[in-house]
Symmetry: D2
Subunit: 339 residues, 4 copies
């Protein structure tokens, strides 16, 4: 349920309404949808009736949301959400390209990659310091040391940092370094983690689970919103199907449908989505044209030597070409939108 406010509402009036909502045991989520002010009412609406809300003169309309995912839906907010971080925008027409290695292997490596990312117009550096690995005997990441290297690289080249958090206990530590928290596919329904990230004030990049339906994906995002954080970037990274020729199956339908159902930005990770470097470029470009607001890719100076995910990482030359084509595709997308 949400209320649409009259244009004339003053700050004091809005504050009073929000306080009333809070006192009734609900959350109050204030947003600006285009030029329309709305307040979402979060939680079960047992003791808060339409009648009570109508008493407030600034309330223009009260609307029920017919979806299980509520505040991430277009029903609640028609306008695209744009996430702004240190001057860059995600969900607008800016180039959003998050690139970097699967795992941070050492300081030199991440500095070198950061340089390459910047030179090609990327504004985001991705990389894993805490790694979710299927085997306990595989390289588990450099931990805090990796975070430091990455922060240094980002500061040196003026990039935004994106790194994964896997444990509620690490949020504080990682939060000291990163600009964007990444939630991996295996943790998409780690509800404890989602709740805690909902309490932070940094954007969260939420990867779709390997077998998560679109509905479950949006419900996971809803958790973060419900606990207070509206800065969510969805990430399609391929789902698990019967097909074995590719690591996962990129769900291009989901990208188009998520843009329709939700106001949140979405990016495509074709590295994990395909698992094959030769497919990263065509699939990334295709998904951008189908609606994705940006891309994430794994790159490595020498993919065949990578400690993890070498098969799906682009080398620097391939990355350069992808960047060029991605920029052109974003321009073309704007042209076609207006046809």
């Amino acid at each position: 349920m949400y209320v649409v406010l009259k244009e004339s509402s003053t700050c004091e009036e809005i504050l009073a309404l929000k306080e009333f909502i809070h006192n009734s045991g609900h959350g109050a989520l204030e947003i600006l949808d285009g030029s329309v002010k709305k307040i979402g009412i979060m939680g079960k609406n047992g003791n808060l009736s339409k009648e009570m809300l109508k008493e407030f003169s600034i309330v223009k309309e009260i609307i029920k949301i017919g979806k299980p995912f509520k505040f991430v839906s277009r029903e609640f907010k028609k306008e695209d959400t744009i996430i702004e971080i240190k001057g860059r925008k995600i969900g607008a027409t800016d180039l959003v390209l998050m690139a970097g290695p699967c795992s941070i292997e050492n300081r030199d490596m991440i500095m070198e990659i950061a340089k390459v990312v910047k030179e090609n117009g990327g504004e985001y550096l991705r990389g894993g310091a805490f790694k979710p690995r299927t085997s306990p005997y595989d390289f588990q990441g450099l931990g805090e040391e990796g975070l430091k290297f990455m922060r240094e690289a980002c500061d040196t080249y003026d990039l935004l940092m994106v790194t994964e958090v896997m444990d509620t206990r690490d949020i504080e530590l990682i939060g000291k370094y990163t600009d964007i928290f990444q939630v991996g596919a295996r943790n998409m329904q780690n509800f404890s983690l989602l709740k805690e990230l909902g309490k932070t004030n940094k954007p969260v990049l939420l990867k779709r689970g390997l077998s998560a339906t679109i509905r479950e994906f949006l419900m996971a995002a809803e958790y973060i919103v419900a606990f207070g954080n509206q800065q969510i970037i969805l990430c399609e990274r391929g789902i698990r199907t019967f097909e074995i020729a590719t690591r996962n199956t990129v769900d291009i339908n989901a990208i188009a449908l998520l843009k329709e159902k939700s106001h949140l930005p979405i990016i495509i990770d074709a590295s994990h989505g395909t698992g094959k470097k030769s497919l990263v470029e065509p699939v990334t470009l295709g998904c951008i044209l189908a609606g994705a607001d940006g891309a994430m890719v794994e790159i490595h100076e020498n993919p065949s030597c990578a400690l993890s995910d070498g098969e799906q990482s682009l080398n620097f030359a391939e990355f350069e070409i992808l960047c060029k084509k991605l920029k052109k595709t974003l321009e073309f997308k704007e042209i076609i939108r207006c046809l």
Copy 2:
């Protein structure tokens, strides 16, 4: 296994070699790969040794194919296959847009649609006269009457006709009317049907099975080649996954991978692939950019009244917009290819 022929080979020499191969109990598939002449040797190579083939002076090289799908693979033929029908080309840069209703409902309807297809630059009319329906109690198609209506519509508007064949016994009848045989997803591994279509001389549009791997898809195409027909158009139409928000999951990875593994052209059917009319445009365009050579879409004057598949059919206004965007996307694809 295939042999590469010397440039100097004469027709007589090639004929002699092919006869020799035939007499050894194998098929001989002659192709021109760019400017290189090759002969594929089909069947189990038991009694035909490399040594025997080397005796022929026109044989430059003998190469084993390391894939289970052989003559549809890039290993055999590096150059893209272009299928030419009455002056139109599939697999080149021509606009390939096959549009029409799910089922032909009556003469007027198909005439009207054909007109719309032509006006928007389409060159192919698709439509079902024999329909594979999940329920025996649903409309099963008009049968031969439908074929006649469709042929008339194609002749009137100078379009190519594409229609489904489901039974070996119907090949002859349908072949009298259609320009392209369509094999539906449910029949992708109807090997009897594939074999018989391999003996015809008309192009076959082969739809991927609902749960067919990419390897199985190419093996099905291989059946048609093995029985003599090289004119195959692959069609990605979505696979069956756990996702229920869309009818199927369009496998954009498969499109990119098929272009890499095979020389055959591939088109995207986003109507069946998504099952939702609002997703048809973004997914079609995305898949074109990822490598598809053309598209198939369901259209209907009044989708909500369609006897079948109304939910996924575009109306004429939506179709017009798609056509415009598709043309632009094809142009853009050529630009980006050269970057």
Copy 3:
């Protein structure tokens, strides 16, 4: 829709009612459900109203069927269907074990296997003469010669013959030899084939498609009924999932659910369902206890030399043990049913 007849109905009265139904353009499916006589009315019920049927004095009740699959459902017929062939019953408490090789390789082989099947209490010999093979270059079966060998083996050892039909054109030929037609998983939605088999008078063993839902499976069975043949044996043989450690995933839920939703007998093929000989026994026994009425298994004198499916075939010693355990399990199932 179906009508329940009064107990007192005479043959003449029933005949008159059926004629009336036929004349209205519908099929009339007469069954005995326990001691209750019913007539199913097949086809779209446009011009046949409840009122018209009520005019017949033998009509006790008229009931709508709320499922898309109608005459295979428990809504239509509460009592289990028992299929009787030459004195053996499928769907009752008899041991139903269909065993044999994937492909018939030669006469001696099938004679030897038939002997083993009989000695262990099996009453059905399965084997492929026409084989659906993924590759056109693989062994395609012996064809009619294989049918002859199999018939001879069945006659010699008093077994019932089960063999696959893949093409409408082969029904007549195969029908001359076999006792049961098998429809393979890849042809479960080959509607032309289903229709033609509906016109025969031999039982049809219908395998579930690799990605067929339970609803689609029952709809496929409904096709056969709708065209006149009620003798259908369902066969669960594993579905395609993401799991790669086994060839398919046996859907034990489906077995239990099919027994609930449909009156048709169902058997389990754990050879294809698992793809691993060591799993055939536990999975077969488990599925029997969960509701399956019988089992199908692949056996071979020397599985490692089989021309196809060697990995999943039991040798004769393993088959003997399975037979013993299967008999015990059937007895136990009866005991537990009465608890």
Copy 4:
């Protein structure tokens, strides 16, 4: 890699060897496999050579494990692992039936259910105090209060307590109350959680992820072992497939295969596996016969009023029948094992 020790090895000698292994930076996992003593060497074996180990006179043999999951595999330990908790055994022939509500709703409810469980021969009470819910707006469980109620119920009726842990931060708290930690399907690859549970000394019931392969399932168990805890109970609870008639698809193949590949006990949760109360009994019994060592079921006094999962919960009368049949099935399984 593991070493097989000579029978004559003394405690001092074993201790010395373990110390040596530890000092080389590896874990040393001592087990008794039947009557054979073995020490598993955990971690990457870089600087610990076979030669160095052979220096120890008690070392009889050194064996490489050819699987990515090592210490949970049959290659390492041939004998079934039996987990003993307060006198009850899991993995032996004891009846293992874990029953209870999805969520603990209040004290009376859990006391009542505990009584019913005990009366029917169950020894384990399951129930959720911290609930993983898809929606942030759904009932999230009673938290610690629920744990207290459950502990009281278990103490009153001498039952073992099984409850879910979702967050590393809750392990200590939950550990004060429960006898067995449950890891839910959504957390199967929550590696932080697995590691921390590996450091506890209580048994862990590990549920298979919705789209986890058998290999990934065993790798998740391996995490727990690698961090020190060998007491793991696997739980098959259905996987996600295209089928929508049931909530999940119980993978009976996986049960049979896991018994073959691993020495760990496995139980079947057919409540979640089917999502339909009518299927719980046949599927549970079938899976027991296929190899499962026990079962988990949801029960509720009045399923239609349950706060969650009512559709799949048995009422008390249904539970009573299941218990009787389960006991008979376990006896029958022993009989058949000896055939």
